[in-house]
């Protein structure tokens, strides 16, 4: 199943105004892995994610999804296998009703009407949003919008899911539902977030970015309990790893996922 691999080699990217957003980023993500990308604001997380589906093309270096290099000529194939959920669901949901929005991707894949219908039904069912199908997106709550945004991507049955800040702006229960939804997916997952506790729950591996470069890449439990590393990268220990704020007791071993 080599086509579920994401490989980034010496990736560099400069924005048009001259800001260097990525400096020599390299990593390789295997099939079925779930990887967190963390770092302070402006560390280059979103820029990196935009390279994985070819919305941005490398200034230098290379991005490969499976056996295919991400280039202008391969965008069609790349975008079929990489599904991106953007940070603001309002950007993702641009059709007048939820059903049409979820159907947008499958229709662009030239599926038959029956095929589109079954994809839409399946995707909305997966995120428990079938009842929202005929609603306009602007009438949905934040959590519903997020769920539907994920469905719009699932309906294209991607091999790889890329999520930018999926838990931003959600209330605690909606966030918990999202985490259990995502942890049920078998896809290769790449999740950029400041929500380190979610990364701790969701990803076995984490890539820490700082000023456009990868400063650490390894098991989540080890990296996210490394106070010095996190402090240097503009982050702090996730709550699940910190001592209890009331009694000062250290977290039980069960809070940290065993690798």
């Amino acid at each position: 199943m080599s086509h579920h691999i994401v490989e980034v080699k010496n990736l560099e990217y400069c924005y048009a105004d001259g800001t260097t957003a990525l400096r020599g980023v390299s990593f390789r993500i295997e099939h079925g892995e779930s990887v967190g990308v963390v770092g302070e604001n402006g560390a280059g997380k979103s820029t990196l994610l935009l390279h994985l589906n070819g919305c941005l093309l490398a200034t230098k270096g290379e991005v490969r999804v499976g056996d295919i290099p991400v280039m202008r000529e391969t965008l069609r194939q790349i975008r079929r296998s990489v599904g991106t959920v953007f940070q603001d669901p309002n950007d993702q949901l641009f059709m007048p009703t939820v059903g049409e929005d979820v159907a947008f991707g499958p229709l662009n894949m030239h599926l038959s009407p029956d095929g589109v219908e079954s994809r839409v039904h399946g995707a909305l069912d997966t995120v428990n949003a079938l009842h929202l199908r005929s609603r306009p997106p602007h009438r949905l709550s934040g959590g519903e919008k997020r769920a539907v945004a994920i469905a719009t991507v699932l309906s294209m049955s991607p091999d790889i899911l890329v999520l930018d800040e999926p838990s931003a702006g959600l209330d605690p229960q909606a966030r918990r539902r999202l985490i259990s939804l995502l942890s049920g997916f078998k896809h290769t997952k790449i999740v950029a977030s400041h929500d380190l506790d979610m990364i701790l729950d969701l990803c076995r591996r984490t890539i820490v970015m700082h000023q456009g470069a990868v400063v650490a890449d390894g098991p989540t439990a080890a990296l996210l309990s490394d106070r010095n590393l996190l402090a240097k990268s503009g982050l702090e220990l996730p709550l699940g790893v910190q001592n209890c704020p009331v009694c000062g007791a250290s977290p039980s071993a069960s809070a940290i996922p065993q690798i």
Binding site: L50, R79, L107, P113
Partner: protein
């Protein structure tokens, strides 16, 4: 601002009505669209002093209103909202065109006043007809029908996007205005300079939003072609609706229906 706000968030009142069930709702959207266009053409084809001849057209609206179970108040509210534009267009006619063309008892009526009334009647007829179409069909379905009838996809895409993002834009604008008003507690009006920067900011935000939405579309395989969901069904009822309505419109336009009805009413009362 708040009032524009509510007006915008109320736009989908029509969409909620469109989810209803009625003989009119069941018609093929293309049939309703064709008839509405014919109706509009009929209304604008009258000469400027014709008033009485327009009145039978209200019958058509009344029938649609009743069969489609659309509350009159909803239509009236939107008419009221749009009426300043129509009044502005018509208001100078009585001042410019002072020639007397009719005598209503002791009242001499000038051509200007006739055309003023005619413009307002046309405004009510045309806007209500479009509102009724939306209330019995829904905005998105009307767009799909336009597509099936051959209107360029790019244009339809714009209609749909407009409908989706006007809410977000209005939301953004109202948040900016709220932020502004919270930091100008003396409550004096917004200065022109501040208005300029608010409007400019809104434009920039809208532009950024546009870029992000386009990115999201590309990520889901958008290739410049827009593919709406298929699925309309033309039945005999639709053909009957189009033929019947056209016959009525022709009768009104060329059969002097208003005069005949007037005469008939006179004979009845005699």
């Amino acid at each position: 601002m708040t009032r524009i706000d509510t007006a915008i968030s109320d736009i989908d009142v029509l969409d909620r009505l469109a989810a209803g069930v009625s003989p009119i709702h069941r018609l093929d959207p293309r049939a309703k669209l064709i008839v509405t266009v014919l109706f509009l053409l009929t209304v604008v084809s009258y000469r400027k002093y014709e008033v009485a001849e327009l009145t039978p057209l209200f019958l058509y609206l009344a029938v649609l209103l009743a069969l489609g179970r659309v509350p009159v108040l909803v239509i009236a509210r939107y008419l009221l909202l749009a009426c300043p534009f129509a009044v502005l267009v018509a208001v100078f006619n009585p001042l410019i065109d002072r020639q007397i063309i009719a005598q209503l008892g002791p009242l001499a009526v000038s051509g200007g006043w006739m055309s003023f009334v005619s413009i307002l009647i046309r405004f009510v007829l045309t806007v209500s007809a479009v509102l009724l179409l939306l209330a019995c069909t829904g905005y998105v379905t009307v767009c799909a029908a336009l597509d099936k009838l051959g209107v360029p996809r790019l244009l339809i895409m714009q209609f749909l996007m407009l409908y989706r993002f006007i809410f977000i834009l209005a939301d953004e604008a109202s948040r900016m205005l709220r932020a502004h008003s919270l930091r100008s507690p003396d409550g004096r009006g917004t200065s022109l300079r501040v208005w300029g920067s608010l409007a400019g900011n809104l434009l920039l935000r809208a532009y950024d939003r546009g870029v992000r939405v386009h990115t999201a579309m590309l990520a889901r395989g958008f290739d410049g072609k827009f593919r709406p969901l298929p699925g309309f069904h033309w039945s005999i009822a639709d053909s009957l609706f189009v033929v019947g309505s056209s016959a009525f419109l022709i009768l009104v336009r060329h059969g002097q229906l208003a005069t005949r009805m007037g005469r008939w009413a006179l004979e009845l009362s005699a």
